[in-house]
Symmetry: C2
Subunit: 235 residues, 2 copies
């Protein structure tokens, strides 16, 4: 049975890495003393080692140790043996590129579909959707495909930002961008505000956290859903 947390962000303003969600993660990773970490998204370009050390610090607060997938000679075997997997944020294109380069897409999918608990934040959440066509990141590398895990039957837009009516900036708002996405694609998009996450258990997909999420469906007006809403009817 799938067991996944798809979180908008690793860090909410004014608090440490994963701090807002650590109580939840203690239960989620109950049966995993060691978490297998996928550091490929390299936020700010930091190395895999640096990123893993940072995440290890955060997880040590709930008594878990963290090992980076780059430390294993055989990353496929590491995924197959993992008791819990975490993919952190950074640049979605860099992350996806590295997953394809190391031929790990299908291995992660198989492990997670078999029930290995998976936590994603930001870029690590983006890849839980059907494609990365709704990432906010800059396309600093060119991956061989935009297709990703498809753990949920829609796309994710993490760090969802509401339009700022006072802005004089002429760049597109997030809502405009997602509307443009729907001129070329039909799957729904769930905009997750910071501090929100989706809890996926088998076929159930429930919005968690304090805030509403914004749902964009093809050829419909976008709408708000409250925390606690079951989203498994989106498709």
């Amino acid at each position: 049975m799938k067991n996944i947390i798809i979180a908008s962000t690793s860090t909410v303003h004014g608090s440490g890495t994963l701090e807002y969600i650590l109580p939840e993660l203690k239960l989620f990773f109950e049966d995993a003393n060691e978490i297998l970490f996928i550091p490929y998204a390299r936020p700010g370009g930091i190395t895999h080692d640096e990123y893993t050390a940072k995440v290890n610090d955060a997880f040590s607060k709930i008594g878990k140790s963290v090992k980076g997938i780059h430390e294993f000679e055989n990353p496929k075997e590491a995924l197959q043996n993992a008791k819990g997997i975490f993919t952190g944020g950074g640049n979605t294109f860099v992350l996806v590129n590295q997953l394809y380069k190391n031929d790990l897409i299908e291995t992660v999918k198989a492990a997670v579909n078999n029930g290995t608990p998976y936590l994603g934040t930001s870029a690590g959440s983006n890849i839980c959707g059907l494609t990365v066509n709704t990432t906010n990141d800059m396309p600093i590398v060119y991956p061989p495909s935009f297709k990703t895990f498809g753990f949920v039957p829609f796309n994710i837009n993490p760090h969802y930002l509401d339009p700022d009516p006072s802005s004089t900036h002429m760049g597109e708002t997030r809502e405009t961008r997602i509307k443009e996405f729907h001129k070329f694609n039909t799957q729904p998009v769930v905009g997750l505000r910071e501090g929100s996450w989706l809890e996926v258990k088998g076929n159930s997909i429930i919005l968690k956290g304090e805030l509403n999420a914004r749902v964009f469906e093809y050829d419909k007006a976008p709408f708000e859903v409250e925390t606690g809403t079951e989203l498994n009817t989106l498709k």
Copy 2:
């Protein structure tokens, strides 16, 4: 001799399409009564016809008519015969995808390198750089390549936005994103603020408009350049 205007935006806040730059364009397109417009970036997903009509309205104020490239049976021939070319903003991925699909990259390059005046705004400016790896747009379609015209020996970041020190949003700033780009790429990036443009004449590349631009070079601290600065030494 190349003759290009690479503008950050088509529209500055509180003014009509191209209004801020129309006096400049009247001179720039002096020898072109009709402008060939490339509407492929489809801002907000509008059709090629709708976009062309909007741009035609703007150019009519300086006595020019506009014809969309999609109106021609043979778009390559249209480019070869054009007296002036304008590529408007919208979604960079959609634009690049369509240029590749219609096999027009080399044809535009040849025309512009032969001296046909070319105006780009926003997405239409992004493609004047080496690649679109520094676009701000959402990757709503997957183009066959990120390589573009390379009219200047660096990348462009249009709509350049300074970091907002008061923001509580945890998404990356533009500067962070460009720094991440330089973990994987070495070419310089010129961040063009709204209302700024680059004037390319042969080998000269001069910053125009009222504002400074921000230049990011590989492995160096970013720096400001004043309007009027010659940028052809960047590489």
